[in-house]
């Protein structure tokens, strides 16, 4: 009834588009503020940081960056983080896909129990569990399997707490593969293992990549587990090293900025290459979870 003469559609549309972009651009700027200030700080001298704390570094000084890059301990942390990440990701993806496969494609007694057991893990995040986990790691260490102050301890705990989520995600993908394929494979004499290894895994490769990307991010960024497990600074991972570095050099804002910028770069580069996988993994996980 109220169809009065309105502004033409294209005009309304472009006005609304304008405001859409306006808000989004403002949000973008706000998101970038801490990152840009950090990057600016990373190429300043301590003196510049005092006199012009948040200006564009002019001229940029790369001394702090270079000094950190020339420090062996920085590369040691990088190496430790890399070892943990690769081991956790490999372990978590293989072990979870085995369980997910069995839960999705085979029938057995106690299947519901196993499934429910792993769902329980979704309600019990590592941040809540860290102290109990520490006890168990200590116990193992006393029994002769050193899990305190070893990278192995970190890897095992990270895998254990990644299992539930990964199993739920992968089970969904394994279930989606048509039943006929399984029947055909078994008729052709495939064993369970053949079917899993030669047919299922290649089929769900994109999903495996998504899960792997997610685990990599979580493992690489994890501070809590290394913080609790490690004492020996030779074994520190990058996030733990960053926290300790901030504790030690916190007053030298330029130096801290340089360190944090350098330790952020691997994550950012990885994100730009694997954004699709990370996003796919997260949304699948959230829908299942």
């Amino acid at each position: 009834m109220q169809k009065i003469i309105k502004t033409p559609k294209w005009m309304r549309k472009s006005i609304s588009r304008f405001f859409q972009y306006l808000v989004l651009v403002i949000a973008t700027i706000l998101i970038f503020v801490p990152i840009v200030i950090l990057l600016f700080g990373s190429v300043k001298t301590t003196g510049q940081m005092y006199s012009h704390p948040y200006d564009i570094p002019n001229p940029p000084h790369w001394e702090n960056i270079i000094n950190i890059l020339l420090t062996p301990s920085f590369w040691g942390m990088m190496k430790n983080s890399l070892i943990v990440m690769v081991a956790t990701t490999t372990g978590a993806v293989i072990i979870s896909s085995m369980v997910a496969f069995v839960l999705a494609r085979l029938e057995f007694r106690g299947k519901n129990f196993v499934f429910n057991l792993f769902t329980l893990g979704l309600m019990f995040p590592i941040n809540v569990a860290i102290l109990p986990v520490y006890f168990v790691l200590r116990q193992f260490t006393q029994l002769g399997l050193p899990l305190i102050d070893t990278l192995l301890g970190i890897v095992l705990v990270q895998i254990a707490f990644q299992l539930s989520g990964n199993i739920m995600i992968l089970k969904g993908f394994f279930t989606a593969v048509p039943k006929e394929l399984q029947d055909a494979a078994y008729i052709d004499g495939c064993t369970n293992f053949d079917f899993f290894w030669r047919i299922m895994l290649p089929l769900v490769k994109p999903s495996l990549a998504a899960v792997a990307a997610l685990v990599m991010i979580v493992s690489w960024n994890d501070l809590l587990v290394p913080l609790v497990v490690l004492n020996n600074n030779e074994l520190w991972t990058l996030p733990l090293g960053t926290m300790q570095f901030q504790g030690q050099w916190g007053q030298d804002l330029a130096l801290v900025s340089a360190f944090v910028a350098l330790s952020s770069i691997p994550t950012i580069v990885f994100y730009f290459f694997a954004e699709k996988q990370i996003v796919a993994g997260l949304t699948a996980g959230a829908v299942k979870g």
Binding site: L24, P53, I95, M98, F118, V128, F135, F161, V256
Partner: protein, 314 residues
């Protein structure tokens, strides 16, 4: 069918119509479940029971736990003002997350929408903070929050505006909100992503039809879009609450729970007693309380929100 017997002896047992269940399957299944079960039982389930046991002791971790105090640790915790403060802070974070962070994420998701040119770029940018490590995020923001106006951006801006500088992380009445701002910056992208994915699943013709019937943009959003997004919203709220209950790293790095416990969360409280002061019994009891809160919340929430999903019919 003719080819069946030719394959090998084992194909006899195969029933084409249902998943094969054979004797040797049992061994295979056992083998495939074993590594996960071992890790899961040892590092996720067993520690819970271990903690329940320790939580009844007054134990500093040296030697065996002998001094059983029954439920005394629990009584002490729930009457400790600092713990109650931590619970209150967590509640504030939950309320702010649900009231500010999620609506903000929704707003941005709707603005990015389905067909905006360049939407991919915005999505990439908005999600970037989520993938940065929590330590790095915390330190970045500490630079901005630096109380010295000559060093911290925020106070620099206040000074430009001829206002008094604020001790962002040192003022008991401000610190929690300063922390919350960082949490929002870090996590809103995750919720936005969920909403965006949900939006993409809504067929455009529903909204188109409503618009034809005279619904304006707001009616369209509140009566059509929002109800259709109930599934991602449900997930978002769940993740947000669980995430708030266990909030640790960002608070620990930025404030350590201070000043004077003003930004204490349950997780920082547990960490301090359990792993800094080595009061293992007491810390265990805190862990068990947090664990129960998580489980109770999960169960109630899942029960309450078991509503049909309009789009998938689930």
């Amino acid at each position: 069918m003719k080819s069946l017997p030719a394959v090998s002896g084992k194909s006899k047992a195969i029933k084409v119509s249902e998943a094969p269940h054979r004797k040797k399957d049992t061994f295979f299944i056992f083998l495939f479940l074993l590594p996960a079960l071992i890790l899961f039982l040892l590092f996720v389930i067993y520690p819970i029971f271990r903690s329940v046991y320790y939580s009844t002791f007054n134990w500093n971790g040296l030697g065996p736990a002998v001094k059983n105090v029954g439920i005394n640790n629990y009584l002490k915790i729930v009457s400790d003002e600092v713990f109650l403060k931590a619970v209150k802070n967590v509640l504030v974070i939950i309320v702010c997350s649900l009231g500010i962070q999620l609506p903000l994420a929704m707003l941005l998701a709707v603005l990015v929408g389905r067909d905006l040119p360049g939407r991919g770029i915005f999505r990439t940018i908005f999600f970037l903070p989520y993938v940065l490590s929590e330590v790095n995020a915390a330190i970045m923001w500490m630079l901005l929050y630096n109380a010295d106006p000559d060093r911290g951006l925020f106070n620099g801006i206040l000074l430009q505006l001829h206002m008094q500088p604020i001790s962002w992380l040192g003022d008991m009445s401000i610190v929690l909100f300063a922390v919350f701002l960082v949490l929002t910056w870090k996590y809103f992208g995750f919720h936005m992503l969920l909403f965006l994915t949900g939006l993409q699943n809504i067929p455009t013709d529903i909204e188109e039809a409503a618009r034809m019937d005279g619904a304006n943009a707001f009616q369209n959003f509140f009566y059509i879009t929002l109800p259709l997004l109930s599934s991602p919203i449900r997930t978002s709220v769940y993740m947000s609450v669980l995430g708030s209950i266990q909030q640790f790293i960002i608070v620990w790095v930025m404030t350590g729970g201070g000043p004077v416990n003003a930004s204490e969360t349950m997780a920082t409280y547990m960490y301090r007693f359990g792993l800094v002061r080595f009061q293992f019994g007491y810390g265990s009891a805190v862990a068990i309380i947090m664990f129960l809160l998580c489980v109770i919340f999960s169960l109630i929430y899942n029960q309450l929100t078991k509503k049909p999903d309009y789009l998938t019919g689930l």
